[in-house]
């Protein structure tokens, strides 16, 4: 009975996360899905994964979503769709029907037998997975740093030459030893900007 309530809650939260018109609401519904899934995992006997899912899925990822939404803002794109709604619902109903036809009914799981501890399985048998996780984390951090790197200030002002090109002499200048000409002339500050600087 408890499983039925948890499953229904998780699916309802997932559908609400997809159908919500505001991105912040979607992120909060997603946090609800994570919390309910972590309870289901705990009741399945996967205690460590339940704790990790609750802290990472419902905590860290939700904070990341709220942070990204506060930076990017809501674009009002929720009304535009790739496919007509009836076609998407029909395809998903067909998919779920086929999956249920292949999978159901399932037998009750057997009683848990003695097996190696989670730590020994993770660090012993699945050591390569741990290595891959470290590589993924490193790659993800590098990708994020490269993605969120600020552009040079001169490029943001819409000038003709970026800051890196200004710092590097041109090929012609390197050939004859002349210093490169500065191609960008900064505009004079307006009186209002001068007042702001003095203030």
């Amino acid at each position: 009975m408890i499983e039925a309530i948890l499953v229904a809650g998780a699916v309802v939260c997932a559908v609400r996360a997809i159908r919500a018109t505001q991105l912040l609401s979607s992120a909060l519904w997603l946090a609800g899905v994570s919390a309910l899934v972590s309870i289901l995992l705990y009741r399945l006997g996967a205690h460590q994964i339940a704790v990790i899912e609750l802290s990472v899925g419902a905590g860290l990822v939700t904070v990341l979503f709220v942070f990204a939404i506060s930076i990017a803002g809501d674009d009002g794109l929720t009304e535009r769709t790739f496919l007509p709604n009836w076609l998407a619902v029909g395809l998903i109903a067909l998919f779920i029907g086929l999956l249920a036809w292949m999978v159901l009914p399932l037998d009750e799981p057997a009683l848990a037998t003695a097996e190696a501890a989670f730590e020994s399985v993770l660090w012993g048998d699945r050591a390569l997975d741990v290595l891959v996780q470290m590589v993924m984390i490193f790659t993800g951090v590098l990708c994020l740093v490269m993605l969120l790197k600020e552009r040079a200030p001169s490029a943001r002002r819409g000038s003709l030459v970026s800051g890196r090109e200004l710092a590097r002499p041109s090929a012609a200048a390197r050939g004859n030893g002349h210093r490169p000409a500065i191609a960008v002339i900064e505009p004079e500050p307006s009186p209002a900007e001068v007042e702001d600087i003095h203030a």
Partner: protein
């Protein structure tokens, strides 16, 4: 209806909701949310399969890898969304088609 059948229904519901989101939405952040829901269904299926085969800890070990990969996908996807908003002024996935060579 036993517990494993309920878990199978949860997996179907979560994967279906995630796929539905991927089919209909054009918002880049919403796409990442749909991917998160899809992966949560896969995570539940992994742990349930581990329990069905009496290897709960093996299922948990694989689930840790899935959680790490899922979080990295979310971080990179949200970074991409923020940068797309800065450069293109929109979160529309169709606007990214300008990247084609």
């Amino acid at each position: 209806m036993n517990a494993m059948t309920m878990i199978a229904l949860a997996v179907m519901g979560l994967v279906g909701a995630g796929l539905y989101g991927l089919l209909i939405t054009r918002n880049l952040i919403k796409v990442v949310i749909a991917l998160q829901i899809l992966v949560k269904g896969a995570l539940l299926a992994l742990v349930a399969a581990g329990q069905a085969s009496e290897q709960v800890n093996l299922g948990q070990s694989l689930a840790v890898t899935v959680i790490v990969a899922d979080t990295i996908v979310a971080v990179v996807g949200l970074g991409l969304a923020v940068q797309a908003k800065r450069l293109l002024g929109t979160l529309d996935v169709k606007a990214l088609s300008n990247l084609r060579g």
